[in-house]
């Protein structure tokens, strides 16, 4: 199973070859489908899509160019995500660390936990109206319960022996929290941050499709409504790309902060 080092170059060459083959096959099928089936009546060919993609950098779609749409979505995600992460970590630590807080908060938390962030959209609109804060709220609800659950899990899995060790070494109660509870919870927090990021990304799309007039979500939906499917494709590709970049940034951060943890290796 394990190949000697020499074959590595051959391996990677093959990987590249097959990868390119796969992509070409995909584009080929797409092109053929556009040319010879009904698919082509509604769907642009790969060439048209690629052209539209580059054009979108300079030509506005709706009110903004592609980059601005993405920037708008990105800002919304980051605001909502930051809020939900901070709140989620605080509540999660509280519930994980204090049995009393857990007993009080958890049953109430259980009511909202299984509700997907996206399901809050109609309520948010009725409560706050249509605007930026509505979108923040929806993204917040999307990530919040995941952050709480993961952080709480981490704090509850705290190794009590290590708390004892720290106390014997002279640590005070507040130091136990900052020097033991917090660091041992960080890997769990990162797990939460990863899942919450993809949920937030999804929530912003849905929210923009329903309530906004700009942003990547709107771009995708508007593509459908105006019959310009290439905008739709552009929106999806850019959303995917940005999501990918964000996730790998986060993974790098985790690698740096949790060098000690087995998971991050």
């Amino acid at each position: 199973m394990t190949m000697p080092k020499l074959s590595m170059t051959k391996d990677s060459r093959e990987t590249l070859l097959y990868g390119i083959l796969g992509i070409i096959a995909f584009l080929f099928v797409w092109q053929l489908a556009c040319m010879y089936t009904n698919f082509g009546k509604i769907f642009p060919t790969p060439l048209v899509s690629i052209r539209a993609f580059f054009l979108a950098f300079v030509q506005p779609i709706g009110r903004y160019t592609l980059l601005s749409h993405i920037a708008i979505s990105l800002r919304r995600v980051l605001v909502g995500y930051a809020l939900s992460s901070v709140a989620g970590v605080i509540i999660g630590l509280l519930m994980g660390y204090s049995k009393m807080a857990y007993a009080i908060i958890y049953p109430i938390f259980c009511i909202i936990r299984p509700i997907p962030g996206i399901a809050w959209i109609p309520l948010a609109i009725l409560w706050i109206g249509i605007g930026e804060s509505t979108i923040y709220f929806i993204i917040f609800m999307g990530g919040f319960s995941q952050m709480v659950m993961n952080t709480m899990d981490g704090a509850q899995n705290l190794d009590t022996e290590l708390v004892g060790v720290a106390k014997v070494l002279g640590a005070q109660e507040n130091q136990i929290f900052s020097k033991i509870v917090l660091p041992s919870t960080i890997p769990y927090i990162f797990t939460g941050l990863q899942t919450s990021l993809s949920t937030s990304w999804m929530a912003v799309l849905a929210a923009e499709m329903i309530t906004a007039r700009e942003g990547a979500g709107w771009l995708i939906l508007a593509g459908m409504q105006t019959g310009r499917i290439e905008n739709n494709v552009i929106g999806m590709i850019s959303i995917g790309a940005v999501g990918l970049v964000l996730a790998s940034l986060l993974r790098n951060l985790e690698r740096r902060l949790c060098r000690w943890s087995v998971r991050s290796r």
Binding site: G19, A25, P114, I115, A119, I125, I239
Partner: protein, 257 residues
């Protein structure tokens, strides 16, 4: 034991107080009932919606049935294709090399992003939802099956091979069983994703289902119906997830790694 009873009691009291406070705020008008209908009102609405088609053209049961049908159909298709694909990608190198770039291209796109395209293709009916949910569950199913197989301990494989097992036998007798916990993890993520995307898809464009129900109720300003719908979405999501956890406990021996 004593402490546990104490905390259970506190939990119950906390929940009751929460509901009473909610009822109080709404009944006294401190928070307008148009923003926050009282729990008692929500209960009435729930009963009402069980048999009444107003304001969205369907009883609660019908909406639930539609949503469940769409979600589960998409979920099963996603698992049925995603798991074998993941296994094949992990086991056969060429397969992996061929599909990997394509898969990596699709993977980061949030399922909701597919809604408009699917509607363009399949119209506003059930097919568009099922296909969005298919994508939502297909991706995590593939990823987890893939890493489950990849993580099969080499030692297990050697043991099997020294006993003279053929490649295919090793796959079926060693790799797949030891990947089962990961496959179930994938299923859990997939089910969760299915439910979320279903709600999104129904909110954006549909003619039936829980998402549609809350969206319509929102448009006519029936916040009580929205509330009931949102709570029902939560409850059914939780029910499906715990059913899956139950199945997992029953079928996966040896526990999760």
């Amino acid at each position: 034991m004593k402490a546990r009873t104490k905390y259970t009691l506190i939990s119950i009291i906390s929940l009751i107080l929460f509901i009473l406070l909610w009822e109080f705020l709404s009944q006294t008008g401190i928070v307008s009932a148009r923003k926050l209908p009282a729990p008692s009102k929500l209960f009435d609405t729930f009963i009402y919606k069980l048999s009444n088609k107003n304001p969205d053209g369907g009883t609660l049961g019908e909406h639930i049935a539609t949503s469940m049908k769409e979600a589960l159909l998409g979920f099963f298709f996603g698992i049925a294709i995603g798991v074998p694909l993941g296994i094949c990608m992990a086991w056969f190198k060429k397969f992996d090399m061929f599909f990997r770039p394509l898969f990596d291209l699709i993977k980061p796109i949030p399922p909701v992003g597919w809604v408009p395209i699917m509607i363009t293709f399949f119209g506003i009916g059930i097919m568009s939802k099922v296909s969005v949910i298919f994508i939502a569950s297909f991706i995590p199913a593939t990823i987890n099956a893939y890493s489950g197989i990849k993580q099969t301990k080499d030692v297990h494989m050697w043991v099997a091979q020294t006993f003279g097992a053929k490649n295919r036998q090793v796959l079926f007798t060693v790799a797949i069983p030891s990947a089962a916990p990961m496959i179930f993890t994938g299923a859990r993520v997939a089910l969760n994703g299915s439910w979320v995307s279903l709600v999104a898809a129904e909110l954006i464009a549909s003619i039936k289902g829980l998402g549609y129900m809350i969206q319509t109720a929102r448009l006519v300003g029936r916040i009580d119906v929205v509330f009931v719908g949102v709570l029902v979405i939560g409850v059914f999501g939780a029910i499906m997830m715990s059913t899956l956890s139950y199945l997992e406990k029953k079928f996966v021996k040896g526990g999760r790694r």
